[in-house]
């Protein structure tokens, strides 16, 4: 009986402490609720006004609540005359580390003005890393061609800061989606001219040539409709981006990202190529008149040569190989492959010489830590001139680079194998 009473007393004490505690917290919460909400609103408003030069405090009519999205609020920002300056989006994210509130400002040209973290209960050092290293990169980017470029440059931030950045990215993606209804989208319009069923596009390979990027154009179901190549060309100090699209057998056509600041004659120049649309790209040459047209034709010819010399592999981690020529003689083979590294997919370039010997490899795109992945370039450089590679210390040339190293090893090995099986006999 005494034992039971003792246990009842223990339970009663805990219950009373819990109840009083709950009441005290509830009371404080209720009493301070309005003021806390007001503080949050003021802090967010300060960020809105800071993002948009010349903006005035938005009226209630300019604030729209959003449902079923990580973006909770869209605010139309105006100047004192009522002219729209752009749109601010307030989004919220949650991970196991806590909550985060992010504000994304987008101007009328569809460029990111700024991305700011308004409030966060996530790990402060990782949030600070985002503020210092990653969010500034997003400024001025066009929402139609965002390059998030998140890499764990701060060792150890791969998982943690990556999760926080995932929140930010989700909010930006939702803001882009909403903003697309309000803003003209010259990039998507250009892709629709080339592939009417386009629903999305992803960067596939980047180049340091007349064409700078290869993008996969996909439909709603994720099927590849075309391969688009961006060709930024300079006219009178202005950069105009042309985009040419191919299937695996055809040249689909060429068009331009017709942003407001693109001169009309640069836009009109693509009409000279209409006769070449939907033709076999093998042996295709472009005979056009005019300075701008000829500049485009030169870049397009370089692109067409690449496409002609490229053979799709789509197996063993390899996407394709480009056969390179010195005059009529083969000078080497440039492979593109991709494989999961430590922090995501590494896209690698591997160059073999005409005899199939290893020349070098390079990172085309890599989310892995630069300080870990870069030493591998020198480590694998030791295999230069060799026709086979053994998986040994080179794969873990730098502590922690094991996964990165394995992805490099796998792709170089696949390139050797492909050469031995296919190219060596040619």
């Amino acid at each position: 009986m005494d034992n039971l009473l003792s246990k009842l007393k223990t339970a009663a004490v805990l219950l009373i402490i819990g109840a009083v505690s709950g009441l005290a917290i509830f009371g404080t919460h209720t009493l301070t609720e309005d003021r806390r909400e007001e503080n949050r609103r003021m802090a967010q408003l300060a960020i809105y006004l800071d993002m948009f030069d010349g903006a005035v405090t938005p009226s209630d009519d300019d604030i729209v609540a959003i449902e079923d999205s990580s973006v909770k609020e869209m605010v139309t920002m105006r100047d004192s005359s009522g002219n729209i300056l752009g749109y601010a989006f307030r989004g919220e994210g949650r991970i196991s580390h806590g909550d985060i509130t992010v504000i994304v400002g987008i101007d009328l040209d569809g460029n990111i003005i700024d991305v700011q973290i308004a409030d966060s209960t996530q790990t402060p050092s990782y949030v600070q890393a985002l503020r210092d290293h990653y969010l500034p990169r997003l400024r001025s980017q066009s929402i139609v061609a965002m390059d998030y470029g998140f890499t764990d440059e701060l060792a150890g931030t791969s998982a943690s800061a990556g999760m926080s950045f995932g929140n930010v990215r989700r909010i930006i993606e939702d803001a882009r989606f909403i903003a697309a209804d309000f803003l003209s989208d010259p990039v998507m319009e250009a892709y629709e001219r080339l592939a009417p069923d386009v629903a999305s596009f992803d960067t596939f390979v980047v180049f340091d040539r007349a064409f700078t990027e290869e993008q996969l154009i996909k439909d709603d179901d994720g099927n590849i409709l075309a391969y688009a190549y961006l060709m930024p060309l300079e006219f009178d100090g202005e950069t105009v981006t042309y985009v040419a699209a191919y299937t695996e057998t055809e040249f689909i056509g060429i068009t331009v990202f017709a942003f407001d600041d693109v001169p009309q004659d640069a836009i009109d120049a693509v009409e000279a190529f209409e006769g070449y649309w939907n033709s076999d790209f093998n042996g295709l040459t472009f005979d056009v008149d005019g300075e701008i047209e000829n500049t485009i034709a030169t870049a397009l010819t370089e692109l067409n040569t690449f496409v002609e010399n490229r053979t799709w592999i789509n197996a063993n981690d390899l996407d394709y190989v480009e056969t390179r020529y010195d005059g009529d003689d083969v000078s080497g083979y440039w492979f593109i492959g991709r494989k999961m590294g430590y922090n995501g997919v590494n896209v690698l370039e591997v160059l073999l010489d005409e005899n199939g010997a290893f020349d070098h490899f390079a990172y085309n795109q890599s989310p892995d830590t630069p300080d870990f992945r870069n030493p591998l370039i020198d480590a694998f450089g030791a295999y230069s001139g060799q026709t086979e590679i053994t998986q040994n210390e080179a794969e873990d040339a730098w502590s922690g680079a094991t996964f990165t190293g394995e992805s490099v090893y796998a792709i170089i090995s696949a390139a050797f194998q492909y050469f031995a099986d296919t190219l060596g006999d040619e």
């Binding site: 402490i17 917290i25 919460h29 301070t32 409030d119 209960t121």
Partner: protein, 253 residues
Amino acid sequence: MAKTKNVKKEMSRLANFTKGFFKENPVFVFLLGLCPALAVTGTVEASLGMGILVIFVLTSSNVVVSLIRKWIPHQIRVPSYIVIISTFVTIVGLLTEAYAYALHGELGIFIPLIVVNCLILGRAESYASKNKVHDAAIDGFGMGLGFLGALVVIGFFREFLSTGAIAYGVYLPLAETPGSIINIDSYVFSMDAFGQAPGGFLVIGLLLGIFNFVAILKRNKKERERQRMIEEKKRQALERKRQKAKEKAGANA
């Protein structure tokens, strides 16, 4: 007799209040609460803010723990203390968000983390649960002030070394517009690292080294004093012995 007892009591309360300042300083002597001492002492004002919050939580929880100490069964005392402490931490978090929003943003996750500050649970367990309410309150307030003092000292060195200035009104409602009590415009030796976490370790380490060095000097001085007094007493005893021997010899003569 009664007067002497009261004076002793007052002296004891004063000692109870001031012990946390130097002799039993939570940070520099007991090395307690080092998490906030490292994390939020980048500036004097953030240090001051965290110190004030800790004083509130420590004093309040000490008072409540002392009030109900006789009703809490021994086997559930620690969970009970944690619930009491976390209640005050939650309240202080809400109040900070309402009345010092900038400080709330600056301290962030470190406000809820006050719950796990060893200093607070330590005082509840070792002092408040065994003493009367007013003594527990004095202990909590004094220890809290000692903690605040330590944070402000660390914050002073870190902020000055990293920026060359000591600002006010940035996080706390101390002024309508932010200003600075020290500002060396031509400060060119800005050491950003002191504003970061490694700077916290460095400053705490250096301060601990200095305080320990001073303590050793004091101890050595005390020891020399003690030795000198022993020698003096020995000399006096010898003197007395000689005097007695002389007197005895004189009497015999």
